[in-house]
Amino acid sequence: MQILRTMSAAALVLSLTACAADTKPPVAAAPDKFVNLVPAYTTFWDETRGLDTTQRVAAFREKFDPLFPGFYSTERVKPPQTVAQQDQRIAQSFETFPSIRTRFETIGAGFGAMLDSAEASFAATFPTSA
């Protein structure tokens, strides 16, 4: 959206490990469904703590690319940005995650209900949006 339209994109990848929280690939859901990748990221972060950064970034790309095809792909990297910078953003997400984890998980747990509720009240004001 216009709000953040100049901000750039990022990363991705595939699964290294069995992810209890996402054994049903969200991408397989019907196109109009809600796909929540918060549990997948949290699980991935926990399960890849022992990897060095390069391996962990590669593992991220391998896991999340099929979960959200295109979003984390290098195809969203536009000059002057580089794939190396995208990798750096992925790596940085690992470093900063502990500081946001509690809120990240809280948002993930309550998001669907919050958005549904907001949509209902929005539709009451703008009925044609429903």
Binding site: M1, Q2, I3, L4, R5, T6, M7, S8, A9, A10, A11, P31, D32, K33, F34, V35, N36, L37, V38, Y41, F68, P69, G70, F71, Y72, R89, I90, Q92, S93, T96, F97, I100, R103, F104, I107, G108, F111, M114, L115, D116, S117, A118, E119, S121, F122, T125, F126, T128, S129, A130
Partner: protein
């Protein structure tokens, strides 16, 4: 959900908005940025209403790329969020990032209005960015924080609301909206061709 919706770790890219990914328009929310930027919010409803309004309203403005178009679409989204959530704080309306926009505007009203008037019809990214983003090295002036145009847009929408309902404002086409936006912006401050001539 109104459209396919993803809640993800966005790697710092976004708290929410639409993205066109491989030909599909998707509603994407970054739980990482929400966690960081929305910390302390009592409610996410104003934020959701802001984004839902964009989804509802933007199709009419997809080919409207000038600065005034963003001033209008963003300002109206903030107004809708406020009207649907009368108790929403400036923070919950995203008007305090990177620093409080209301206070900066109040202290530098003329400079803020004139900066937008001077770029009103521009479609250049270099004109858009310091108004609606927070580029580290491209601020218009040290007195005007990045994103200050969100607050100016909100004031513009409030002016327009004096003669239109929210639904009427949302229904305006770009051709109908442009003179409304121009009048409302002019009412916020006079940048004065007269003054320039006098100088």
């Amino acid at each position: 959900m109104t459209m396919p919706t993803y809640l993800i770790h966005s790697l710092g890219e976004m708290d929410g908005g639409t993205r066109n990914i491989r030909g599909r328009t998707l509603f994407v929310f970054g739980a990482d940025v929400m966690a960081r930027v929305h910390d302390g919010f009592n409610s996410e409803r104003p934020f959701f209403h802001h984004e839902l309004f964009h989804v509802y309203h933007t199709p009419k403005y997809e080919s409207c790329d000038a600065v005034w178009c963003s001033l209008w679409t963003e300002g109206l989204a903030v107004l809708v969020a406020k009207r649907l959530n009368p108790d929403a704080t400036d923070a919950e309306l995203l008007l305090t990032c990177p620093r409080p926009l209301r206070a900066a505007f109040d202290a530098n009203r003329k400079e803020a209005v004139c900066a937008i008037q001077a770029r009103f019809n521009s479609e250049k990214g270099e004109d858009y960015r310091p108004l609606f983003n927070n580029p580290k090295d491209a601020a218009i002036s040290p007195r005007l924080p990045g994103r200050f145009a969100y607050y100016v847009g909100y004031l513009v929408a409030q002016q327009a609301e004096k003669t239109h309902s929210l639904q009427q404002l949302a229904a305006l086409t770009p051709e109908q909206a442009k003179p409304v936006v121009k009048r409302a912006l002019d009412s916020l401050g006079n940048c004065g061709r007269t003054r320039r001539k006098a100088a």
